[in-house]
């Protein structure tokens, strides 16, 4: 009897933690693919909230914080699509994303993926008010991307972001379609070999790279 209780108690403890981590993986597995396919502001906001709920419940996982930040940044980009100087609308989202990303960075130091989103936040702030911010957020974005690259040179998302920079920067500011094209192709190659650590680790971007490449052609 004594032994049985011991086993059962152990089991109850175990099943809880086991199911918790299974529940986490399951919930994340449901949401993560949406990162690549959601393009509406509302959809991204919804996605960001879903990730944030997981993040706040788990507290010790960097991935949900990372994805929540990422979805918020994307929502802001979608909101400002093609328009600059919308700082008053995009800054609150950048603030939110930055808060979430900082939490992710606390849980996972020197993470190339986190630096990629850091770069995206800096770029988001830059286009919010380019005239006044290019001296601060321009270099900040470059620095974050350089760090991301140094931490993981094989990360295809680094190359994707570099390619996007080349594509969206006006030519007189150093943009170049031909260079962008090369970078997109390089990114796609990297996607082919890049293996995410688990099914819920960052793997987004291939569709985007293909899409942009097709637009250049």
């Amino acid at each position: 009897m004594k032994k049985q209780f011991l086993f059962i108690t152990a089991f109850l403890f175990a099943i809880n933690s086991f199911s918790q981590s299974e529940k986490y993986t399951k919930a994340m597995e449901q949401l993560v693919p949406a990162v690549d396919t959601t393009t509406s502001v509302d959809g991204l906001n919804n996605l960001a909230n879903s990730f944030q709920r997981i993040a706040d419940a788990e507290k010790s996982q960097w991935l949900p914080y990372y994805y929540a930040a990422f979805a918020n940044v994307n929502a802001a980009y979608m909101m400002s699509m093609g328009q600059m100087g919308m700082a008053d609308k995009t800054d609150p989202l950048a603030d939110k994303a930055e808060g979430l990303l900082n939490k992710a960075a606390e849980l996972s130091k020197d993470n190339s993926e986190i630096y990629c989103v850091k770069k995206m936040i800096a770029s988001l702030r830059l286009i919010g008010d380019p005239q006044n911010r290019y001296m601060t957020y321009g270099p900040a974005a470059e620095e974050a991307l350089a760090k991301a690259k140094s931490l993981s040179p094989a990360n295809p998302r680094v190359t994707l972001l570099e390619a996007q920079d080349k594509l969206f920067t006006p030519e007189q500011f150093g943009g170049s379609k031909t260079e962008a094209k090369k970078l997109f192709e390089e990114a796609i190659k990297k996607y082919e070999t890049f293996k995410p650590e688990t099914s819920i680790h960052p793997s987004w971007g291939l569709q985007q790279a293909k899409h942009f490449l097709s637009e250049i052609k």
Binding site: M1, K2, Q4, F5, L6, F7, I8, T9, A10, F11, L12, F13, A14, I15, N16, S17, F18, S19, K23, A27, D42, N45, N46, N49, S50, Q52, R53, I54, D56, A57, G85, A87, D88, D91, P92, L93, K96, D110, Q131, N132, R133, M135, T136, P139, A140, E142, E143, A146, K147, S150, L151, P170, E171, Q172, F173, G174
Partner: protein
């Protein structure tokens, strides 16, 4: 007790995986466990059970409007939803019992509610309260123009505007002169605000008073401000009704905030037709501290050789300037900043004497100035903030005046002996300020503190006989102040403060209450009112006085309407300012000195400001207009008149356009002021009277500047070069600032700029000492 077989199968796996070690030997504990077993099992099933509760509802703001995009969640669970466009949400949860539901949305206060989940559907109607954030809260903006990157209602200028305004000539006050409220006075330096003198505007850097903000005055030639606009990140220009933290200024406060840590280490080089300078800024590897130093030499010789000057310079203006700084991040929220400045300059010129034809007036000045500023800010806990600062200025002016014949030999003419004199002044100024701030609920806060101001002026006047008349003046001004920012409601805020001052020189105290209220009328639209009493000591140049003197006093009443929406700003302000106890002077022993506080005056007017970055693509412009009606009786005025520094109508148009293709910034400015009155006040015995009076012509000035930024488009440029080409008074319009009179009053001569058109060319290079390689290497 029967346990299903699959339990044991799983256990093997689980125990292998998790290897729990239990050391439970206590019988009592086991008994409790036995009784609790079924409960535990039940709980386990319930937690992982299938019974779901539906939670749905709607979210509205306190005006009853649906809010979409609100995140709804059950604390510590994954369950939740996001509201749709009609504010509705619905989700299912397997959680049971007491659960905390949280609704959150940007711009609103988080909402929490405890729910008892028992399987029955829950229907909620949630109201979210607006959160007052600095971003959209009503701002106390009456009388205030702000140039900063803070997104606030009063921030109608960007920091970059200070340096890219064409008529500003790279001078901080130049840009401010294109705003309503400031006069276009060209014959002397300073900001003349709403009928006030330049002395009624005081400048503060990081909270402490700056003496000698401008280079020492030269008769009829306005001087530049000493400090580079690039060392400041924020500028607040108050044209009235300013905070109780500042005092000793009847009209206006110019509040400058120096930059924090630089973005990166860099070396700077500047070469212009007027000057050259070099500097270095070093940012520590950990980005927690920085230091920097720079040196500049300005010599107007080259420019004066090309552009003919009215004066004949025997010593062309030459300036040595050096500065040094350090900034240390003392904690996450703390910052210690030092800025030190040194300048030594001299000039001497002759101009045809108005007093005696065929002779020359010679004027020479040498100035040495040291300025130190140490400022510290820190947050203590979550609610307290401390701001402390000290500044010290040491200023030395040596002025020589005499007459010369055509061969540039010094002469003393009978009856004009007084024109030969020299004045040596030494000033030591110390200012210290401590402000404590406590945050209250929301954005409300209270601030209080004290200020200590010490000044010591020594002056030696030497007359044509070599007779010396030394004088000195010491003064302490102590002040304590308290101020509260109160957000009464989302749309209503008030700032109430009082300042108490004691002057050792006057042996008098004053109490100056200040009050401002702002009310938000709609998104981006607000109305504000401001009221305040302001005191200022009589200007030191009219002291000492043989009579007992008092503080001069001004009372401000300001009403403002402002609308800032979609990159368009409109602002209208009406004001009334009453002056009491202005200083009256009398002339004796070639010296004008204060005799009483019997002066008075008033100023009223209406001002408009419109800035538009939206209507025309890539074009940014602002228009300002001021109407001013003012009269005062002060100094030697025979009775109340409109002073010679006050134009009735003043206006500016500033245009900026960035042309990407050319990598150029094109800036233009047009400044207008209607003719100001001029007077020649003489004496009839001891009473003053007008020998002559009239109105100067209207003032018109068109300036144009091109900034060329060739680094744009280069990835990781090693050098950021900015070429500046600037022309002021491009149409060579004749400008008259006033008239000067011969000693006997028979001859008058227009006071005009030293040259009509002026052309400035320069290159400023910043070598970014790029540390990204370093960072990458240390990370690998």
């Amino acid at each position: 007790m029967r346990v299903p077989g699959f339990f044991f199968l799983n256990l093997v796996y689980i125990i292998n995986k998790f290897t729990f070690v239990f050391a439970i030997k206590n019988e009592l504990f086991m008994k409790q466990l036995k009784n609790g077993f079924f409960l535990l099992l039940l709980a386990c099933f319930l937690q992982n059970g299938y019974a779901q509760t539906t939670i749905k509802g709607s979210v509205k703001n306190n005006k009853g409007k649906a809010i979409y995009g609100v995140s709804i969640s059950l604390k510590d669970s994954y369950d939740g939803a996001t509201t749709d466009s009609s504010g509705n949400f619905s989700f299912k949860t397997t959680e049971k019992g007491e659960q905390m539901l949280i609704a959150s949305s940007v711009g609103h206060k988080p909402y929490e509610q405890i729910l008892k989940l028992q399987g029955e559907p829950v229907n909620l109607a949630i109201t979210l309260k607006e959160e007052i954030t600095e971003l959209d809260a009503v701002t106390i903006s009456a009388g205030t123009f702000e140039a900063s990157d803070r997104k606030r209602a009063s921030a109608v200028l960007d920091p970059i505007d200070i340096v890219t305004t064409a008529s500003a000539n790279g001078d901080i006050t130049g840009a401010l002169k294109t705003l309503p409220g400031a006069q276009q006075v060209g014959e002397s330096e300073g900001l003349f605000v709403r009928g006030g003198t330049a002395a009624e505007t005081k400048t503060f850097i990081d909270g402490t008073l700056v003496n000698n903000f401008f280079y020492s005055g030269v008769p009829n030639i306005a001087q530049f401000s000493r400090f580079s606009p690039f060392i400041f990140k924020g500028t607040v220009f108050s044209t009235g009704g300013y905070s109780a933290l500042y005092g000793q200024a009847l009209s206006s406060a110019l509040i400058l905030e120096s930059i924090d840590l630089p973005e990166r280490s860099s070396a700077n080089l500047g070469i212009t037709v007027l000057s050259s300078n070099a500097g270095y800024q070093h940012l520590a590897k950990n980005k927690k501290s920085s230091w920097g130093a720079s040196y500049g030499y300005t010599n107007l010789g080259l420019a004066f050789a090309v552009i003919k000057q009215k004066q004949d310079y025997s010593q062309v203006p030459a300036y040595h300037n050096a500065d040094a700084n350090f900034r240390i991040k003392t904690s996450d929220t703390g910052m210690l900043k030092y800025y030190g400045y040194f300048s030594s300059n001299k000039l001497a010129f002759t101009s045809n004497s108005i007093d005696s034809l065929g002779y020359l007036d010679k004027f020479a000045i040498g100035n040495t100035n040291f300025y130190h500023n140490l400022a510290w800010k820190e947050s203590i806990g979550k609610r307290w903030k401390i701001n402390a600062g000290v500044s010290y200025t040491n200023n030395k002016d040596d002025i020589n005046s005499n007459m010369q014949d055509q061969n540039k030999n010094d002469v003393v003419l009978t009856g004009l002996e007084f024109k030969k004199f020299s004045i040596d002044t030494r000033g030591d100024y110390f200012n210290a300020k401590l402000v404590l701030e406590r945050r209250l609920k929301g954005l409300s806060s209270i601030r209080f503190g004290s200020e200590f101001n010490y000044s010591k002026d020594r002056l030696t006047y030497t007359d044509n006989n070599g007779q010396q008349y030394p004088g000195s003046l010491n003064e302490h001004i102590n002040a304590v102040f308290a101020e509260a920012d109160i957000y009464i409601a989302n749309a209503l805020a008030a700032k109430a403060g009082t300042r108490f001052e004691y002057s050792s020189l006057l042996s008098k105290t004053n109490i100056a209450p200040r009050l401002s209220i702002a009310y938000k009328l709609g998104k981006g639209t607000q109305a504000s009112l401001a009221y305040g009493i302001f005191y200022q000591n009589p200007e030191r140049k009219y002291l000492p006085s043989t009579n007992e003197l008092d503080f001069m006093k001004a009372t401000h009443y300001i009403a403002q309407f402002q609308r800032v929406v979609n990159q368009q700003s409109f602002r209208a302000e009406i004001f009334y300012k009453k002056y009491d106890k202005l200083v009256k002077t009398a002339f004796s022993n070639y010296q004008e000195s204060a005799i009483s506080n019997n002066g008075f005056g008033d100023a009223k007017g209406i001002e408009f400001f419109w800035r538009d970055k939206k209507t025309i693509k890539n074009l940014d412009y602002w228009i300002s207009y001021s109407y001013l009606d003012t009269e005062r009786d002060f100094l030697n005025f025979p009775f109340a008149i409109t002073p010679n520094f006050a134009a009735k109508h003043t206006g500016s148009l500033v245009v900026k356009r960035f042309i990407q293709k050319w990598k150029m910034n094109l800036n233009g400015a047009y400044n207008y002021a209607s003719g100001r009155p001029y007077y020649n006040i003489g004496y009839d015995g001891t009473n003053s009277k007008f020998n002559d009076r009239g109105t100067i012509p209207d003032y018109n000035n068109v300036s144009f500047a091109i900034n060329y930024l060739p680094f744009i488009g280069k990835k990781n440029p090693k050098a950021y070069t900015v070429w500046v080409f600037q022309v002021s008074n491009i149409f060579n319009i004749k400008q008259t600032y006033g008239y000067q009179y011969s000693y006997n009053g028979y001859r008058k001569e227009a006071i005009v700029p030293t040259s009509r058109m002026f052309v400035f060319i320069g290159a400023f290079i910043s070598f970014g000492v790029d540390r990204s390689d370093e960072i990458i290497n240390s990370a690998l």
